[in-house]
Amino acid sequence: MTSPLDQKIKITGPVVVTANRVGDGAVVYRRADGGWSTRLPEAAVTSNVATAREFIAAAVADDLRAVGPYIAPVKLTADGGVQPGNLRELIRLGGPTIDLPVTF
């Protein structure tokens, strides 16, 4: 597979860098301070290709904490909030769209 660093970065709007946490696989977002958070609003957002490239390079180098980083689209709300930019990202953030089997 092509490394995320070798891929052409095409951005049409605001993006974040997301990955899965190594220890438990949880969905995480790259923060501006270089840490990772499970909370999307804490993610560093950019609409700039050069900045996105920097984010992804730093994320790839952080292989010990996060696996499979990539650039994902987000939507900015009028009040400055951040929301997933597509259905896949919505499901990654919010979990399956169906009821999980319940124990009885």
Binding site: N20, V22, G25, A26, R88, T97, I98, T103, F104
Partner: protein
Amino acid sequence: MYLYDDLDRTLVAERVADFRDQVGRRLSGELTEDEFKPLRLMNGVYLQLHAYMLRISIPYGTLSSAQLRKLAHVARTYDRGYGHFTTRTNIQFHWIKLEQLPNAMADLASVGMHGMQTSGNNVRNVTTDQWAGVAPDEIEDPRIYAEVIRQHVTLHPEFSFMPRKFKIAVGSAAHDRAALRIHDLALRLHRNGAGELGFEVMVGGGLGRTPFLAKTIKPFLLKRDVLSYVEAVLRTYNQFGRRDNIWKARIKILVHDLGAEAFAKEVETEWRTIKDGPLALDNAVFAEIAGRFRYPDYVPLDDAPRALAEARRADRAFDVWFGNSVTNHKVPGYCIVTLSLKPEGGTPGDATAEQMDAIADLADRYSFGEIRVGHEQNLTLPHVAQRDLPALWRKLADIGVATPNVNLISDIISCPGLDYCSLANARSIPIAQQIASRFRDRNLARELGRLHINISGCINACGHHHVGHIGILGVEKNGEEFYQITLGGKADEDAKLGTLIGPAVPFAQVADVVEDIAAAYVELRERPDELFIDTVQRTGVEPFKERVYATR
């Protein structure tokens, strides 16, 4: 049940120890993901959308009650309290944590279970008929041959790095319940004109982006030659299969490109050099393996006992379930019971830890401790005394696995789709739920009769949509979920690939489309008992297409 020997147990235990070490090194940062990924995949550990996923092999779909209880324990202890049975008769846990995986694997190893060869370019779990060993129409238990192959290909160095994954199925009944023709290699046991037992060998089946049905390259192969011939097929594929393009790497492409005859010739050439070597099997080997399958001590019982007939008369719901979910057994007085994992509103193939525990207990009490997994994502209790059916039914109903919809429109085969799978284009499970809810009227579903819907969330076709009577494939168009509909596919002894009926429809319209198709069928069928699939074959897809797109 097959009893594993010390070799199997040692191998599984050693693998757990290795993996514990590898996970430790990954977590400490000694291994990068690039280094670790092939190691985790060798143990069935994938990374999905939300978490790691552990896929556990269930050889030829046979489980003991102890194994099912252990799966329940893993679901409860390390996952979110449920597991998902797949179309390859394996089970997946979708929320497993890497840190806890070694412990989960050690627990599984205590009952001989593991995730080896559930990923990677090797021979995957050899599947078969979920009624193996008990079906009245079978010649011999196909699991004996599945087990011979399993032993040979497990961690076989020559077949650990093939061009792509390799799926084998074995059947031995008149009716194909193992979907033989959609496998890379399929073996069908039958008798030749001289009354000898042997296999029809089919190669090059597979769905995905380029679907093909397997072609027969040898109509009759003596049993003694089964392993040498399988080896010759694998070698031929290993040598000539493409490694430059993942989309063209499966054996189906090779067989298609070379032509079945030329491929068969290559196999024969290879086979001639090995057929009389150590892989030629004599009856003693088969007998030894067959001897490790423990069959229940059936007791002499009356067929169709009076109490059963009375129970059917007394309770309509029981009678409906009996008519739908109970099948003849080869031993008088016994029957095969299918447990529907397709309750309305549920996820096809999911079972909770509580259900698994309860089913394990019921298997102990009513089915000699044995459970089967079928590619339709339902479970089976293979050895139930007919007289026990009323009591068993109540208990199955209590735990939600007695929905009388087996083989009906709401018995939907579905992959996890975009709700879990990182390769998905679109969701599968909500589509299955919408359709099941639309046909929740049991009389309507029964009126429609046998009708298989298969749903895949992407072209990888894990939901086998190409061979669904109605096939539904999720695609993405401008960021929206759309679904292509095919009709007329089937996975039995007369396997066919479905025909696309037209442009993809949006998420919100899929259940409507299925309703239109069902309505068209009711109008088009010649007799009430003409099956949906037979009507489609008789009329072609045109009238259905007209109905579906007339108003869209």
